[in-house]
């Protein structure tokens, strides 16, 4: 890799971290004009930037608005680069079925996790909010998902998460999926109690954990 190319990827990553959408687009266009590898530009530029933004979020340096502005910049850059990806580079990604559990309509947290999952290389199927447990199972089977991610903000609806796991067990397909839970009232001990595979306290941690767990399960 030329030093210019390397430098450009670093700048792309910086532009994402600095929440600079215009600059990210400009740099992404540079990648195209200079005929650099778009796949690498996404990996080492945009995704790297989001990864750094996620770390800053975990360290409490960044908060939700900053994380969202970083992702705006990242998506804008992606728009520019994506059409130039070579076909063989559009490798199959792990799929995640995500949604807010039945009875709850608060979805900001779920949307943040979705962004972080997408930037860490997952294909995310977003079911939305107020989703019955059965719908998670059906969709996960249909698309061949590897991860099921459940979110809720309300103490009153968290028991629906256990129902998703019960349904998977009843169909004897529990081991095929990584089930992750998160949201305001959720804790590690709740995740343990209902037999979920993972809990993360925020969106950045969720994405990292999903990467780890998705590789661990034997399918």
């Amino acid at each position: 890799m030329s030093s210019d190319q390397k430098e450009l990827f670093v700048q792309l990553s910086d532009a994402v971290v600095d929440m600079d959408e215009a600059r990210t687009v400009e740099l992404a266009q540079d990648v195209i004009t200079k005929n650099y590898d778009t796949y690498e530009a996404i990996e080492k530029g945009l995704a790297d930037g989001m990864d750094r933004a996620g770390k800053l979020f975990e360290e409490e340096e960044y908060f939700i608005p900053e994380l969202l502005m970083c992702s705006d910049a990242m998506y804008a850059g992606l728009e520019v680069l994506k059409p130039h990806l070579k076909v063989d580079q559009q490798a199959e990604k792990f799929k995640v079925v995500i949604g807010v559990i039945e009875g709850d309509t608060h979805d900001i947290g779920k949307n943040l996790v979705k962004i972080m999952l997408e930037t860490s290389g997952f294909e995310v199927i977003d079911l939305g909010r107020d989703i019955p447990p059965q719908a998670f199972v059906a969709k996960a089977k249909e698309v061949g998902a590897r991860v099921i991610a459940l979110s809720t903000l309300m103490t009153t609806t968290m028991d629906g998460m256990a129902e998703v796991i019960r349904l998977l067990e009843a169909e004897k397909i529990r081991k095929k999926f990584v089930v992750m839970v998160g949201g305001g009232p959720i804790s590690q001990s709740f995740a343990d109690r209902i037999g979920a595979d993972g809990y993360a306290k925020d969106a950045a941690e969720a994405a990292r954990l999903a990467q780890k767990l998705a590789l661990e399960i034997a399918v």
């Binding site: 908060f63 608005p65 103490t155 001990s189």
Partner: protein
């Protein structure tokens, strides 16, 4: 079985081996605050064990890591008992010197009670009527003894006042912690707790017992017989009314959030074990929706929002921020999930408004002025203090527009600020004393809470195509709101800057409005009709709610 001694309370109890101190305390009837209901997350159920007890207990793996526990201190919910244990001290029982506002904006009410008494000389008895219908009789002439009670059932606190129905005078009043808060602090936890039959029984009997106790006290103080109390008004949010009426609140906690009861009705006091006249009644004011309850109906009544000319915004700042916009008599209401940060939950050194809580904070040219309740040594931060601290730090640039605490090296701050920007457990914090500090995480919690309320205001205004500048009056209700400083609310951006100079703290209007319901029966009819006309906005139904909420998280003007 093992024996647990609660020294402070002077009680001991036999407990199962392996049960927790909290379980033993509940069995013994000893109150330990446990707002997270034993999940091990809130850290409020600290107790001090005797030294000898140490080897007789086992700690569950506790995830509470906000602070290390002082020696001898354990979390009651996380400590399992295997042999006899002595508990020397329970710091967090009902907070000492709790500040509860029992007065609210009162209005001139024409006396026209539902309850009336008349002496009948022929029968030598006094007849008691409810809206003209005979309720019961008493021997002799007791027409002069005609009383009612208004109870504001707050999520955190209860206020009860005894009213002379012949004169409209308030004779005595009491406030107390809502005992339900000891088991489940916020509304959602309470809904979950009471979704099961046993949980509902605990919540219902807890509230009724405490209300009975308060009624006994206010009656005694005013030297009134409880049998001369004929009507009790329960004013409170929708969940509190469900629990007090022994109704399962489960549907309130699930989309589409439907209430089971809608208020505007009477219940028989005797069926709810309320200790007043045997034929006495409970009145529940009309409920607007699941998250805009009878307390807000009382607030509308107390402030006569529906009769005001011009544009008025009524906001009850609390765990659920309820608000009503009144535009020349047209009312629109909404509520936002602010979360419990204002009550000191999820805040590293958060606490309720008890002795030693930092309740106000101000940065001046010469230094920092910190006031604690009871002028005691600071032990934590209560809601008003929290908003003051964050508001002042924002106003003085110590917290930047994104909510980040600034590095002391990066800015020219006066020495008295710099020395407080220090590190605890490796993280930058703002120190208030040796033991009490504000963390970055705490600031994030405040941002979430104020962002929720501010976005509710933004949507209410936008829905009526009104700008913040056009709002003529802003009424902040609730006992929590009463202790807040307008300056801090505006510094935080919880209220738009345009509201400066228009804000009035109206206090506990749930109580004063409830009192108006007690004193004039016509309000019951009027408000029942009015709540049907109140527009309701469900924030979750707006596509751009996320965007507005996120915009409201920062400290820049929206």
């Amino acid at each position: 079985m093992v024996r647990v001694d609660f020294k402070q309370a002077g009680v001991s109890v036999q407990a199962e081996k392996g049960s927790t101190i909290l379980e033993a305390a509940r069995k013994a009837g000893v109150m330990i605050e446990s707002p997270c209901n034993g999940a091990g997350t809130c850290g409020k159920c600290l107790v001090r064990m005797s030294v000898q007890s140490d080897s007789n207990v086992i700690q569950k793996a506790s995830r509470h890591s906000n602070r290390t526990l002082a020696s001898g201190m354990v979390l009651a919910c996380q400590t399992e008992i295997y042999s006899d244990v002595i508990i020397d001290d329970i710091p967090n029982t009902a907070p000492q010197g709790l500040k509860i506002l029992d007065q609210g904006q009162s209005l001139a009410v024409e006396l026209d009670c539902s309850i009336s008494k008349k002496y009948d000389a022929e029968l030598a008895a006094t007849l008691i009527y409810m809206d003209g219908q005979l309720l019961g009789t008493e021997k002799g002439d007791s027409a002069a003894k005609n009383y009612g009670v208004v109870v504001d059932i707050g999520t955190t606190t209860l206020v009860a006042a005894l009213i002379d129905l012949n004169t409209g005078d308030e004779l005595s009043s009491r406030s107390a912690l809502n005992p339900q808060a000891l088991q489940a602090q916020d509304v959602l936890s309470r809904i979950r707790f009471a979704s099961e039959k046993a949980g509902l029984a605990v919540m219902y009997t807890g509230a009724i017992q405490e209300i009975n106790r308060m009624i006994t006290e206010i009656a005694k103080q005013a030297q009134v017989k409880k049998s001369h109390i004929y009507e009790v008004v329960f004013s409170g949010n929708t969940c509190m009314l469900h629990l007090a009426a022994n109704v399962n609140p489960e549907s309130l906690g699930r989309y589409p959030y439907t209430p089971v009861i809608d208020g505007a009705r009477h219940l028989k006091a005797i069926e709810f074990n309320l200790d007043i006249a045997e034929f006495g009644l409970i009145y529940l004011p009309p409920i607007i929706s699941s998250y805009v309850g009878a307390d807000i109906t009382s607030g509308i009544l107390a402030c006569k929002l529906h009769e005001r000319e011009g544009i008025t915004l009524f906001v009850d700042i609390g765990t659920n921020g309820e608000m009503v916009l009144a535009v020349n008599g047209k009312l629109v209401a909404t509520s936002t999930a602010a979360g419990p940060a204002f009550e000191g939950m999820n805040i590293t050194h958060g606490m309720r408004a008890g002795v030693g809580a930092i309740e106000s904070f101000e940065i001046t040219l010469d230094g920092i002025i910190i006031k604690t309740i009871g002028e005691a040594e600071s032990v934590g931060i209560c809601g008003s203090g929290l908003l003051d601290i964050v508001g002042e730090l924002v106003a003085h640039g110590v917290i930047d527009k994104n909510g980040k605490l600034k590095d002391p090296k990066s800015m020219e701050f006066p020495e008295f600020i710099k020395e407080r920007l220090t590190r605890r457990d490796g993280k930058l914090v703002f120190a208030l004393s040796e033991q009490v500090w504000l963390s970055q995480k705490d600031i994030r919690q405040v941002q979430l809470a104020k962002g929720a309320i501010r976005s509710g205001i933004e949507f209410l205004l936008a829905n009526e195509a009104i700008t913040a500048a056009e709002v003529e009056q802003v009424l902040i209700a609730g006992s929590f709101g009463y202790h807040l400083r307008v300056k801090s609310l505006i510094n935080l951006g919880l209220l738009p800057a345009e509201f400066d100079g228009k804000v009035e703290m109206v206090g506990n209007t749930s109580k004063s409005g409830g009192q108006a319901f007690l004193l004039n029966k016509n309000y019951r009819r009027d408000m029942k009709a009015l709540v049907k006309r109140v527009g309701r906005i469900e924030l979750a139904d707006y596509q751009d709610f996320d965007r507005v909420f996120v915009k409201c998280l920062g400290f820049e003007e929206v």
